[in-house]
């Protein structure tokens, strides 16, 4: 290796580092560096078409007669639970649209493993997703108020606070206008469902399948539509033989495309819901393999296991009774699954890798291409029969004694 080459390499390296340093300094003081513009706050939305107006093309929706009053977007508050591949993109869309306020909930950190998705950048690795998102979003549009909560909504420690922010987190201190579920797991969806059922909050659920080639959005209005606990989760058939799907070694795959498409559907319907234009989809599925988009709607299950869902259903029926006449709703989801039970009182299920057979009553009311993840459980009519003496006796025992007895087993 010649010494000149080494010198050239060093010069090139210094030049590259100088460039990086300039860029870093630039981002710290954007308004003073040429070529870097810092967006300042804008007091009122204007429809004036000039280069400096970030809202001109949105306000054009009003001029064209698509939306009656676009400026109203500034009055709305949307809570986004889960700021991952779907939630972060959804948040960016709403931010660019000039939403009034966003509440972001997530307890995850940005990782390099997330870089196949949109929105987050490698240099944000290690930061909490809500903090990283807040910084980026605030840079895009400082007019949006952003409130972040870096915690898990499913735990007892955080749930009450979560419900409180949904109830009182809007710009005026009232309930948020819409909750968007952009989480990636059943537990968190059920927690959001619980919160929204308790306070009668309308929300949108969204999801992308673990094989990354299907997704969905679903509108949930407590009492009026099915809640998330009314029936087992829906699955958009991917069109591939699920038996050949290799799951070994990974939990989930993901594609920025599928997530971006689902985020797009979610926010398109959020805008339609908030600004009252077009038709808001109740359920919209996406099968990426066939570019097939099933849509349908669901009525609530009168026997839903969720007490607050049943309570909201009653409230909704009372409200309906006071109204002249409601539109005929589309097929209700009646759950009447066949149960087979073994000798021990444990209910077994057929291999869930096999999608439920079309025409099976668990899938009654569903359009083609969509099925339930599994059969609904039957009402618990036989639970007591299977209860053993250990459990029957437990009620009469002292909790502390049981805890002591259990702990004592540790040393034996």
């Amino acid at each position: 290796m010649s010494s000149t080459k080494t010198e050239d390499e060093l010069r090139a390296r210094v030049a590259a580092l100088e460039q990086q340093l300039a860029a870093a300094l630039g981002s710290a003081q954007p308004s003073t560096t040429a070529g870097l513009v810092k967006r300042t706050k804008i007091a009122t939305m204007s429809s004036e078409v000039v280069d400096s107006n970030p809202y001109s093309r949105l306000m054009a929706l009003k001029r064209m007669g698509i939306v009656d009053n676009y400026e109203r977007i500034r009055d709305f508050t949307v809570a986004i639970v889960g700021v991952g591949g779907v939630g972060s993109v959804a948040a960016e869309m709403l931010t660019r649209c000039g939403i009034g306020k966003l509440l972001l909930f997530d307890y995850d950190k940005v990782e390099l493993a997330n870089m196949n998705r949109l929105f987050f950048r490698p240099d944000q690795s290690g930061f909490s997703k809500v903090q990283a998102a807040q910084e980026t979003l605030q840079g895009i549009n400082p007019d949006v108020t952003i409130e972040t909560h870096n915690y898990n909504v499913t735990t007892v420690a955080n749930f009450a606070h979560f419900v409180g922010r949904i109830k009182e987190g809007s710009l005026t201190g009232g309930p948020v206008d819409l909750v968007l579920s952009c989480v990636d797991n059943f537990e968190a969806r059920m927690a959001i469902n619980q919160a929204c059922n308790e306070i009668g909050q309308t929300w949108f659920e969204s999801g992308v399948s673990e094989n990354a080639v299907s997704g969905h959005i679903q509108l949930l209005i407590p009492g009026e539509t099915a809640c998330f606990a009314c029936a087992p989760p829906l699955v958009v058939a991917s069109g591939i033989d699920e038996k050949t799907l290799k799951r070994d070694g990974v939990c989930a795959a993901s594609l920025p495309t599928t997530m971006g498409i689902v985020a797009g559907f979610l926010i398109q319907n959020t805008l339609k819901y908030l600004l009252k234009f077009g038709t808001v989809s109740r359920y919209l599925g996406y099968n990426a393999m066939l570019d097939f988009f099933p849509s349908m709607e669901f009525r609530p299950n009168e026997q839903c296991t969720n007490f607050h869902c049943r309570r909201q259903q009653q409230l909704y029926q009372e409200k309906l009774a006071l109204q002249p006449k409601a539109d005929g709703a589309v097929a209700a989801v009646a759950e009447e699954a066949v149960v087979h039970e073994d000798d021990f009182g444990i209910e077994l299920v057929s291999d869930s890798a096999e999608p439920a057979v079309a025409g099976h009553n668990a899938n009654a009311g569903l359009v083609a291409g969509v099925h339930r993840a599994y059969d609904a459980p039957a009402p618990s009519h036989h639970a007591d029969a299977a209860v053993t003496s250990e459990i029957s006796e437990a009620a009469s025992l002292d909790l502390e004694d049981l805890q002591k007895q259990f702990m004592a087993m540790n040393s034996k």
Binding site: N152, T154, F159, M190, C251, D351, L399, Q403
Partner: protein, 176 residues
């Protein structure tokens, strides 16, 4: 499907009956008693079968659980911290069991070391609400996960055997 060994293990764990979660006051206390009764029976069963494989305790409210679990592979015992919260929607949703030390070492985990369960777990859990409890989640979720993942992690040298720590009573007192 769930294998026969797991099925028979499950069948010997008492089924619970109270449908109550951690926000349900007295009903939760009743549920918690059932949880302990089922766990006691399960650990007894394990000890009798010479297959004792975890230690667990909870906070006062029974909302957060923590302890150790271990797996013997090629005669060496690999031990890990285990922890989980009882979600507000319990028992409708199962607890998400986590092994924080293994976070980032296997793709079969979600954030914070939460283990990735098989496709069979959720339908089976859903069909057995409120009869399945913590003991069932361990037997159906964590046990089979360790049996598959630990040998794999050892083979890939992502985990190495450590001599038992003298301070750990769980490690030194087991296996008898």
């Amino acid at each position: 499907m769930v294998d026969d060994a797991t099925k028979s293990t499950l069948a010997k764990i008492p089924l619970l009956k109270t449908r109550a979660g951690p926000r349900d006051g007295d009903a939760w206390i009743l549920r918690l008693k059932e949880e302990y009764a089922a766990l006691i029976k399960y650990v007894q069963n394990n000890k009798e079968a010479d297959n004792d494989w975890f230690r667990l305790e909870s906070n006062k409210d029974g909302t957060r659980w923590f302890g150790k679990c271990w797996f013997v592979h090629d005669l060496l015992k690999y031990e890990f911290d285990v922890e989980f919260d009882i979600p507000v929607t319990y028992p409708e949703t199962a607890p998400e069991l986590a092994l924080p030390e293994l976070d980032g070492k296997t793709a079969k985990m979600y954030r914070e070391g939460k283990i990735c369960l098989t496709d069979h777990f959720k339908p089976l859990w859903a069909r057995n609400v409120p009869r399945f409890g913590i003991a069932h989640a361990l037997a159906l979720g964590l046990g089979p996960w360790l049996a598959v993942e630990i040998p794999d992690l050892v083979e890939k040298k992502l985990i190495v055997y450590n001599e038992p720590k003298a301070s750990s009573s769980a490690a030194s007192g087991s296996g008898q």
